[in-house]
């Protein structure tokens, strides 16, 4: 079974190169890793034509099902709908590896919830000088309005999407925690459907752990945090509307959970209760799974220009009559500078050692670290602390002189706003591009649900950089995704 990768047959694997990056499928000696052996055997026998046929089928079904995201800005009023690129080669994670990740993620989310609770109550972690107070009070997403308010079960972050990466040794690191409203879970679910259709036999023989129960788990989580332990709460999903690029996902999740998807204009708050406007009058709402940001939630409390929210929503929430998931103000903990303190939070709140490491991070707000950043700018990745989606980023080695100078000025002008990290040599995974397989960089975003208990469906969304050599996996930057198989054993 130890065929060399550079087989002479005109197969997909033809001239696949394993470089000095960590390759998920192959060990250094170009041997397939044991958990990839079966997939490897299948691929080595497959012609490009046969593979393309399967690929075509998957693409067409995605388009007809409307699994697209919308790109605006061009002249068309309708916007351009693109299929979120889906790669048919699955990423495989052995059982033992997953179980470690799972423990690490639960530990992390538990600490983050305790941290947010603490920040909006006694602020012990600041008083004990574990985290500098100005870091918190200067955070863009710190919400004074949240001070002293209690939330059901003290859970602030109900849904987390943590981005994990592997370096060239194959060790896992947390790249960032997405604690506001992480997206992408619908792709995880749809990718699985597509894989089951196109590689049914292989899938069946592999012993892959199921993920289809995610919507049910999400609903249970949301129901468990209803105000006043209401046993039969009404849950709705609040979307910015169909022009949002993630609308497909909002509709998908609402349908899978069997709950109403609402826009701000469907809601009305009266005497600190929130209602939906229906054909039979107003109906009370208990839990709002919101997919709009804090600023847009309530024009009375936050941005008065927002048309997406519901006036009076925040007061209804403060009165304890409605739960908002994720809670307002969770962004204070996914600020990329605050992120660097998560290992300390874990030690502080849980008295445990972190199971998952952070990527080493330098904060420009600290004088010494800033000097280090500025003198090593061409070797580091610089990130703006509140941006996501691959925006506001500088990749040192690929940057032009002008870009380096621009970021030098930006960092000096507003050090609090920037962090820097060494370039993680992201692991690579065989991925179909232009007629054969290439090693493309990947990451992994598992979705962690936190209500009565913490639960994670095995795996998550594996994102892949579909430009050769690119390290950026975000969908808005030309990334795609893969199905993620966590094995039973």
């Amino acid at each position: 079974m130890s065929e060399p990768v550079s087989t002479t047959r005109s197969s997909l694997m033809h001239s696949y190169e394993v470089s000095d990056f960590f390759d998920e499928m192959f060990s250094r000696g170009v041997e397939p890793r044991p958990h990839y052996q079966q997939l490897y055997n299948r691929l080595i026998d497959m012609t490009v034509e046969a593979f393309n046929e399967r690929r075509g089928n998957a693409d067409v079904s995605f388009l007809y099902q409307g699994i697209t995201f919308t790109v605006y800005g061009q002249q068309q009023a309708e916007g351009i709908e693109r299929i979120f690129p889906f790669d048919l080669i699955p990423r495989i994670i052995p059982a033992a590896e997953w179980s470690l990740l799972e423990k690490g993620l639960i530990q992390r989310v538990t600490a983050l919830n305790k941290f947010i609770f603490d920040i909006y109550h006694e602020q012990r972690i600041l008083k004990d000088k574990i985290i500098p107070p100005d870091l918190i009070f200067g955070a863009k997403h710190f919400r004074r309005e949240m001070m002293g308010v209690n939330v059901p079960k003290n859970v602030y972050v109900h849904i987390t999407g943590t981005d994990l990466v592997r370096d060239d040794q194959g060790s896992y690191f947390v790249l960032e925690d997405n604690l506001r409203s992480p997206s992408g879970v619908s792709y995880m679910l749809e990718n699985r459907q597509a894989m089951k259709r196109t590689f049914a036999t292989l899938f069946q023989s592999y012993g892959v752990r199921a993920i289809e129960h995610y919507p049910q788990e999400l609903l249970s989580t949301l129901r468990s945090v209803a105000p006043r332990e209401n046993p039969d709460p009404t849950v709705v999903l609040l979307t910015p509307g169909i022009y949002n690029s993630a609308y497909f996902e909002h509709a998908f999740l609402a349908r899978q959970m069997g709950i109403e998807i609402v826009e701000g204009r469907d809601l009305v708050a009266h005497q600190n209760r929130v209602y939906t406007r229906t054909t039979k009058g107003l109906q009370p709402v208990d839990v709002i799974y919101r997919r709009i940001d804090d600023e847009s939630l309530d024009p009375l409390s936050f941005s008065s220009e927002s048309m997406l929210g519901c006036a009076g929503l925040f007061n209804a929430w403060r009165a304890g009559n409605v739960t908002i998931a994720n809670a307002v103000g969770t962004g204070v903990a996914d600020d990329k500078a605050v992120y660097s303190y998560v290992p300390k939070m874990i030690r502080y709140y849980l008295s445990e050692d972190p199971i998952l490491d952070n990527v080493p991070t330098y904060l420009a707000m600290h004088d010494k670290e800033r000097e280090y950043i500025l003198s090593n700018l061409n070797k580091l990745v610089v990130k703006s602390v509140n941006e996501s989606g691959g925006y506001g980023m500088l990749i040192g080695p690929q940057a032009s002189k002008a870009e380096l100078e621009l970021f030098t000025d930006l960092i000096r002008a507003n050090p609090r706003n920037f962090i820097a990290q060494p370039i993680v040599r992201l692991s690579r995974h065989p991925t179909y591009l232009d007629g054969r397989l290439h090693g493309c960089h990947i990451d992994l975003r598992p979705y962690i649900l936190c209500g009565e208990k913490v639960s994670i469906v095995p795996g998550g969304l594996t994102r892949v950089a579909l430009r050769s050599g690119s390290l950026v996996v975000n969908s808005s930057q030309g990334g795609g995704s893969k199905d993620t198989w966590v094995l039973n054993e």
């Binding site: 388009l63 409307g66 998807i261 609402v262 469907d266 054909t279």
Partner: protein
């Protein structure tokens, strides 16, 4: 169900139906042109625009009525809000807004129809319009069938049915109005029969009519299209179905005094249709009667929108009405 969602479903359905109706009217006219006596002229095409009620908009954009300009206008003119391609785009846009309310099959189907229309080259459609028309008609009919078979027949479904039947009733009334007028100025002869057949075909009613009446004359045709309780495009049938939907949406009411305004408005129209005879209509002349019927349907549309879709800020009496609704 959410007011916004009900509104969207209702319009989704109306747009699908409208696309089909306009396509059928066009198809029938193209067919009629094949008969030697009918010329590709203003006389042949102006009535088609009259049916849609868009004459001013048409004359603003085109100089003369002929096969090319009328089909251009009805199929894809960007300024025509009822152009077939616009209807399909709007149907799909509405479906997209309520993606989670309709079945996946419905969404896939309306999406497919949209891509078909969007990607179609106009020259190709112009060369083989029948094939294109057939695809639209079948697409719309399949959509209604898929809706029937894949969606729970609850409130959402009834709003879809309501939209479909009101749109259809509206179009049938307009077809009778225009075509009946055209027949009446003709002296007896084969021309009359051709016109009557075209009128029936515009409502897919020729075969159904033939099964129950052997004599083809304008009175029988008008009677059939107005009063049939069995033919799914007859005005009476459509409005009875619409009434049924409205009643199901509200659920049982204890007495007639508790009826809401759409039920009253629609019930009145249905009763009148139910007790009229064709001679009563002919006595007061067809056109004024149909005109009154159309404005009745328009007012009904307004009542429906006020009652179910109104998303206005709640009036000061909010608090008391709120309590009663919660009980």
């Amino acid at each position: 169900m959410l007011s916004r969602v009900a509104d969207t479903l209702y319009w989704m359905s109306r747009y699908v139906e409208r696309a089909e109706d306009i396509t059928r009217i066009l198809t029938v006219n193209f067919h009629s042109l094949l008969d030697a006596k009918v010329q590709d002229s203003e006389d042949a095409w102006r009535p088609i625009i009259a049916i849609t009620g868009d004459e001013p908009l048409f004359t603003n954009n085109f100089e003369e009525y002929n096969a090319k300009t009328v089909s251009e206008f009805l199929l894809w003119h960007p300024e025509n809000p009822s152009a077939v391609t616009t209807c399909i785009r709007l149907a799909r846009e509405n479906a997209r807004c309520v993606r989670e309310q309709i079945s996946s099959e419905m969404w896939e189907h309306v999406n497919r129809l949209y891509f078909l229309v969007r990607d179609l080259k106009r020259e190709v459609a112009a060369r083989g319009p029948y094939e294109f028309f057939d695809q639209i008609r079948q697409g719309s009919q399949a959509f209604q069938g898929i809706t029937n078979e894949t969606m729970a027949h609850g409130e959402a479904y009834e709003f879809i049915q309501l939209g479909k039947h009101l749109e259809r009733a509206d179009k049938t009334v307009r077809i009778i109005d225009v075509k009946y007028g055209a027949v009446n100025v003709l002296s007896d002869g084969p021309e009359v029969s051709l016109q009557l057949i075209a009128m029936l075909r515009s409502c897919s009613a020729f075969e159904a009519f033939r099964k129950q009446a052997s004599h083809l004359n304008s009175t029988r045709v008008a009677e059939f299209l107005l009063f049939s309780q069995e033919f799914p495009r007859a005005v009476s049938y459509c409005l009875q179905r619409a009434l049924r939907s409205v009643n199901l949406i509200f659920g049982d009411v204890p007495t007639q005094r508790h009826l809401r305004s759409p039920q009253r408005a629609l019930g009145r129209i249905c009763s009148e249709l139910g007790y009229l005879e064709i001679n009563d209509v002919l006595d007061q002349n067809m056109h004024p009667y149909l005109d009154k019927l159309l404005s009745g349907l328009n007012e009904l549309g307004v009542e429906i929108s006020k009652t179910y879709f109104n998303t206005q800020v709640i009036a000061p009496s909010f608090q008391t009405s709120q309590q009663s609704q919660q009980q």
